[in-house]
Amino acid sequence: MNDQILVDCRDVNVHFGAHHVLRHVNLTIRPGETVGLVGESGSGKTTLGRAILGIGPVSSGEIVFDGENIAGVPPRARKSQAAIQAVFQDPYSSLNPSMTIEDILTEPIIARRLASRADASRQVRKLLDQVALPSDAAERFAREFSGGQRQRIAIARALALSPRLIVCDEPVSALDLSTQSRVMDLFIEIQERTGVAYLFVSHDLAAVRHISHRVAVMRFGEIVEFGECDQVTARPAHDYTKRLLLAAPVADPARQAERRAAFRALEMTA
């Protein structure tokens, strides 16, 4: 079964000075799978994502991708250079304001000499099409687009290098409700078409439940629960997951009143 694992984090630790921000993290992601990573601010979920991407430090432990230990190795120095890509939270600062969309999308292709400039430009139309943006978007600047459209551009950039894993760090948190659900559906559709795996980092348990196959819950740098999505998000074993689940208000006054009572009861016993 080992060949069925795309990413294997083994006892990963990260220290920032005296702070132990990731503690003995073990996590696996299979090809074509979405693993949801839930936690509150400061839980270390973004740190783990950045460690896998190679833009954050790793103090000890291994992150095995395709038989290669990539822990602490920057993206360029990896054998599987562009196999792991990213979609970040803030669609405003994740696109260079002084570059056109075409420049943003073709840059990784041209810089890594995967295609000529002309071929890369031709691919742009296909990429924009994949994320349901009009092809005239290519000549425009990021600031001309709404948050949801920018996030689609960020997804297209991640797809440009045909990655096998995309680390999505709160990719829909900054978006409006209706935009959020459309972008989530786009993520699912792309996964079903291309077989790319996602590490979906979010504080929103409902979003994570919607997209994930398996879910890991982080708190204070530790994974407190990791299992099948339905089990973790509907019948959690760990008290913290239960709190997290009950704390998120649902759009139904009667059911929300029950959940609130249950949350209060849990707080009392805690």
């Binding site: 299979r30 002084s98 990784p108 000549e139 409006d176 409700l177 439940r209 196959h213 208000p249 139904d252």
Partner: protein, 587 residues
């Protein structure tokens, strides 16, 4: 800017860049400065065509001659043609300035890019060298080099370029520090781009504009210093220079006082143009491309007799229109909103970004951003029309009878003052109580909002507490004067979900305890279901539907409400994992 629509006509890339240049040129200062520079530079380039005489040719009978007779501006102390020397002198001056600027910018910008990007030791060493150069007295160094290396003004200007490079270095380094943590730099790293490419493509692009401004200013400084050196007699006496002409005119000032005018004018006009051009570019950048003339202020619609509101209605908003100045008159962000809020009722104001929900709340609070105005409609608070009341009257209500809880708790606490001070001061002002009494009440309130150690929080600075605690502090401050109406603008959006649940609980308890009316502005239907009695759904500046919470969730009447509720990710079936079949599945 999140509501810009893709349906708008596409704007080709090139026009964007041309647009910048054009808008600098449409600025009168920018246009005049650019034209002046163009004229001066062109006359230097085409000097051999423009100069009727050899600049070094001496005509003995034209020493200190007045203008005319083949000498357009007269002759200098040696009988040479001032006009010819002036246009030829420009060549030498601009070449010198060019050398200085190129050397200063290439050393400073390169060092700044790398030191800023890599930081640590490289940055330390570069800063040390830069500080060292800045500590040297430039003019003395230049004179020393002149002595040691001989009579080339260009060599002196090259040395001067090195002396000025720390300016470029510090500017670039600080700019790089500002952008290097942007997510697009991370994204470029993740795509496997080399550091060199990231620096030259991404970082250089974002620092170029301030560097252009700096270049313009440095060019001005270089011209002044070069002329100064030449005035002191440095440089090759056989080449015509502006500084040399100044010196010649100065020594003949009693004989031919007008001669000093021409080199002086050339230097002044050139330097002033460079500085003004830099200012024009800077103004254009700070303005962000939008030139908004304040539209004519319309008088508020003549007050019709207001129908008396029902006695238990605390807040009655009718046909509220809020607008901001735009290029073509007013841009309405709230387009005729009707709302009413009874005493002790919790009203949810829900909508997506750009729906006008926050603007409605700010209009009620009288806290619209600069330029914003209530164009028409009325805001009746307990019989008082806030729209027509004076600033003073509204201020008297705000904080006392109308309280506010903001979205970003940390941004609403002053980092320079202790929490206790920030609670006590407004209570003393609004309630007119003594400091001791206010302190006692503040501590009681901090305990009331369930802060674990009220004494410690009272003494703490904002950075010493968490976001959730800061929001509790602001809530404590808001209820300090037992307000009738609490307006909470996305009060839990910035908080973690477990903290959100606790803060909502607290708000609900306090609402009951003080019997406040609460207007809860939110985008989250879960929060509405949790805390509100009634809800108004906003879209594009209008309320599309108002109903009790139970009925709205059970039977949403408006399509938009239905669409929003459908977008809520519900507990449906979870996905089943199937491994991708083969390699070619990977696109």
């Amino acid at each position: 800017m999140s509501d810009i629509n893709t349906a708008q006509a596409p704007i080709p890339a090139a026009t964007q860049r041309r647009h910048f240049v054009r808008s600098v040129l449409t600025n009168p200062t920018g246009l005049v400065a650019s034209l002046a520079l163009l004229v001066v530079v062109a006359s230097a380039i085409f000097a051999p065509l423009l100069a009727p005489n050899d600049p070094s040719a001496v005509q003995i009978f034209k020493v200190n001659a007045v203008a005319g007779d083949g000498y357009l501006l007269g002759g200098d102390g040696s009988g040479r043609d001032i006009w010819s020397r002036l246009v030829h002198g420009g060549r030498n001056t601009f070449l010198g300035a060019l050398i200085t600027v190129v050397i200063a910018a290439s050393i400073g910008v390169t060092a700044g890019l790398f030191a800023g990007f890599y930081g640590r030791k490289l940055d330390l060493v570069a800063r040390w060298i830069s500080d060292g150069i800045m500590a040297l007295p430039a003019l003395i160094v230049l004179l020393a080099f002149y002595q040691a290396l001989g009579a080339s003004i260009y060599l002196s200007m090259a040395v001067f370029g090195v002396m000025l490079s720390p300016g470029f270095f510090r500017l670039t380094r600080n700019l790089v520090n500002g952008v290097k943590h942007e997510l697009y730099i991370d994204a470029a790293r993740v795509s496997g781009l080399s550091d060199l490419r990231i620096i030259t493509r991404h970082i250089l692009l974002s620092v170029r504009a301030p560097v252009v401004i700096q270049t313009s200013i440095v060019a001005g400084i270089a011209i002044v210093v070069q002329s100064g050196l030449e005035f002191l007699g440095l440089g090759d006496p056989s080449t015509p220079t502006w500084g040399g002409m100044l010196q010649d005119a100065f020594s003949n000032i009693y004989v031919s006082p007008q001669a000093i005018l021409w080199p002086g004018l050339a230097i002044t006009a050139t330097v002033a143009s460079l500085v003004l051009l830099a200012n024009a570019i800077r103004d254009r950048m700070q303005q962000g491309g939008v030139q908004v003339r304040a539209p004519k202020v319309l008088p508020l619609a003549a007050s019709e007799p207001l129908p008396q509101a029902a006695p238990d209605v605390l807040l009655d908003v009718r046909d509220l229109v809020v607008a901001y100045p735009a290029n073509d008159g007013w841009r309405e962000v709230v387009k005729g909103v009707n709302l009413s809020l009874r005493r002790g009722e919790v009203l949810g104001l829900v909508g997506e970004s750009g729906s006008g929900k926050s603007q409605t709340a700010f209009a009620i609070l009288g806290l619209l951003s600069p330029g914003g105005r209530v164009l028409s409609g009325s805001i009746l608070f307990d019989g008082i029309d806030l729209g027509k009341s004076s600033q003073h009257e509204v201020r008297a209500l705000r904080g006392k009878r109308i309280a506010y809880v903001p979205q970003e708790p940390m941004a609403n606490l002053d980092p320079a003052f202790r929490i206790g001070f920030q609670l006590v001061e407004p209570m003393m002002t609004v309630l007119g109580i003594s400091r001791a009494e206010a302190t006692r009440r503040a501590l009681r309130l901090l305990a009331r909002v369930k802060l674990p150690d009220p004494e410690r929080v009272f003494r703490a600075y904002p950075h010493e507490i968490s976001g959730g605690m800061a929001q509790r502090v602001l809530i404590a401050g808001a209820v300090a004067c037992s307000p009738d109406l609490l307006i909470a603008d996305e009060p839990t959006t910035a908080l973690d979900v477990t903290v959100q649940a606790e803060v909502l609980d607290l708000l609900r308890d306090l609402q009951k305890e003080f019997d406040m009316a609460v207007m809860l502005v939110t985008h989250n239907f879960g929060v509405v279901a949790d805390s509100c009695d009634r809800v108004a759904v906003m879209k594009d500046g209008r309320v599309v539907e108002t109903n009790t919470v139970t009925e709205l969730f059970a039977a949403p009447a408006h399509d938009y409400t239905r669409m929003l509720l459908d977008s809520v990710l519900e507990d449906g079936q979870t996905r089943t994992y199937r491994p991708p079949m083969t390699e070619e599945m990977r696109a």
